[in-house]
Symmetry: C2
Subunit: 379 residues, 2 copies
Amino acid sequence: MLETVYVLGGGQTRFGELWDYSLTDLIREALDQAIGNTKILPTDIDTVVIGNMLGGETAEQAHLGTLVSGLLPHHPPALRVEAACASGGLAVHTACALLESGKAETILVVGAEKLTDVSGDFVSRALMHAADAEKDAPSGLTFPGIFALTAAAYMHEYGITRENLSLVSESSHRAAVKNPYAQFRKEIPANVISKSPLVADPLRLLDCSPISDGASAVVLSTRKESPVRIAASSLASDSLSLTDRSSITSFESTREAMNRALKESGLDRNVIDYIELHDCFSIATLIHLEDLGYADAGESIRLFLDRDTEANGSLPINSSGGLKACGHPIGATGVKQVLDCFKQLTGQAPSQVKNAKRALAHNLGGVGATCTIHLLEAL
Amino acid sequence: MLETVYVLGGGQTRFGELWDYSLTDLIREALDQAIGNTKILPTDIDTVVIGNMLGGETAEQAHLGTLVSGLLPHHPPALRVEAACASGGLAVHTACALLESGKAETILVVGAEKLTDVSGDFVSRALMHAADAEKDAPSGLTFPGIFALTAAAYMHEYGITRENLSLVSESSHRAAVKNPYAQFRKEIPANVISKSPLVADPLRLLDCSPISDGASAVVLSTRKESPVRIAASSLASDSLSLTDRSSITSFESTREAMNRALKESGLDRNVIDYIELHDCFSIATLIHLEDLGYADAGESIRLFLDRDTEANGSLPINSSGGLKACGHPIGATGVKQVLDCFKQLTGQAPSQVKNAKRALAHNLGGVGATCTIHLLEAL
């Protein structure tokens, strides 16, 4: 990082089916929470960055940067960024660039998505805009279908079972019980997950993150100090279509983003105390942990069998509930991950990891087509 | 600027109703042109930024950064930005921040839009996503309707005539004749413009920029040198809705972006030799010239009455044909403006301004809700 970028804090709405909220309502609440929690003045914000994927399709609203700016009294310069489900992480990354370039000193980063005002079929089709419209969508694939292909290949290659997959979702649901912002605050045992309705073989309903509304916001600054800084902000891309990959059980974008982040920060992966992982599907969690270098290929299930991923385990992951149980309002997810890492490093997390000093937020777009990684460090 | 950002050059497709091209085809052609014209290797590009507004709505394709990245052999990190019709200028601005931050050294900036594969009604409604979905769209307003309100107010306030407005479009059409990339290469006299079909009183069909397909690309670098640099890159926002403004005959975002650009560059507005202006509607041209400080309020029509805006005049504007006659593929426009400024500064413009040393690209989103300004300087 060319400059020290401090995370001042942030706020979020509850994630869920929020039928009483418009997209603007969601953004306003996250913005108010962020300003209230960080105790900055609205006019301290000199730039706004928002991550959002489907504002035009699901809320008839593009041009969201300026919409957020208009909620502030002084209309600061504003932009929207998009990289499908990695839109939130991309917003944080873009904000870091603006801060490091000197173009901004204090940025409000917002992530937001409103998905439940349209039908499930409409959302499924709109979400497929994250894949390749010429190579993937015409075959009738949906995202559960795409990840089902990776799950089938992974299970075949490494011999894990259907019951193994359920342990991943069980862990997320157990964690979310304590998170007041989570969409599903209910423990669900693995055997129930294994018997939930089939979506795309071998994936079942409770392997999949839900359709959610929600917004989140963090304030980043080079001018105002805080006990937490961003130690690295990395972005990596891969082919949009899974059909252009040599392997479908590993995502090169995660590997590259992790390498870039470790290099930028000078940190070793073993000093990370907490991970917010992009668990869009149970199988994705297993793949990500291997791509991040925390398990050998085919071995990550052991972390769940041994309960290493719990808040008091050796590799705490998604104590917030993750995408699976906290919810996945597309653009909001990546920003909320950074907020949850901040909470862990400042002792404010609902399931607190003891003495957490460094945290990692991993946000994925498409089927590993975009990856952002942010490393946060307590000072 | 924290670093010297060089403009290495670029390329574009023809703008128009390009029914044989998909969105990906358009992007591929602009990318190939840009790489060919700048003589860089594809692998010199370490980051991709694309400006696009309606990929999801009109081409079922979001996640466009990664789509562009996938057209390159090495899949560099990529992002999409959006600020309605200012998406292209915003892409250049974001690229400047990434270069100044040290996160990138050579960036391919693309602008692209595919609008003619869907109906005109569908596009009109999708374009309204650039305005406020809660305050503007429900009233039935379209963009021609919004700019008609500004035109009526301006004509009432300053006493210009319907025939005056036609001079603005006449000038753009005269210029576009020489531009091989222009959508309309035909002179249209003012009296024909005044009699063209009424769209939204007082605006007629030939006051309005067209619905266009197209893509454009420029390569910016801090590592490779070139005879042209970016002297300033500014971004400003205003309220999304016109209903929240104190005046509708002047756009504060243009004024603020211009002040920021002049301050950043240390240049005076009088040293600018060429302007690419966001002439989405004839009335917008008149307002912009006043907001940029090149005419007093209500006086800019004199520049057209005196033909000062021709390539050999005292204030050359839109010798490319501008949005009106070269075309307006939303996300492509702001990038193409920077490309046309580059051509003027390197003696490659179809209507060349003699000894042009400094040029300005002015890109607007919504009804003055976002403005980007880029100042380019020959070294």
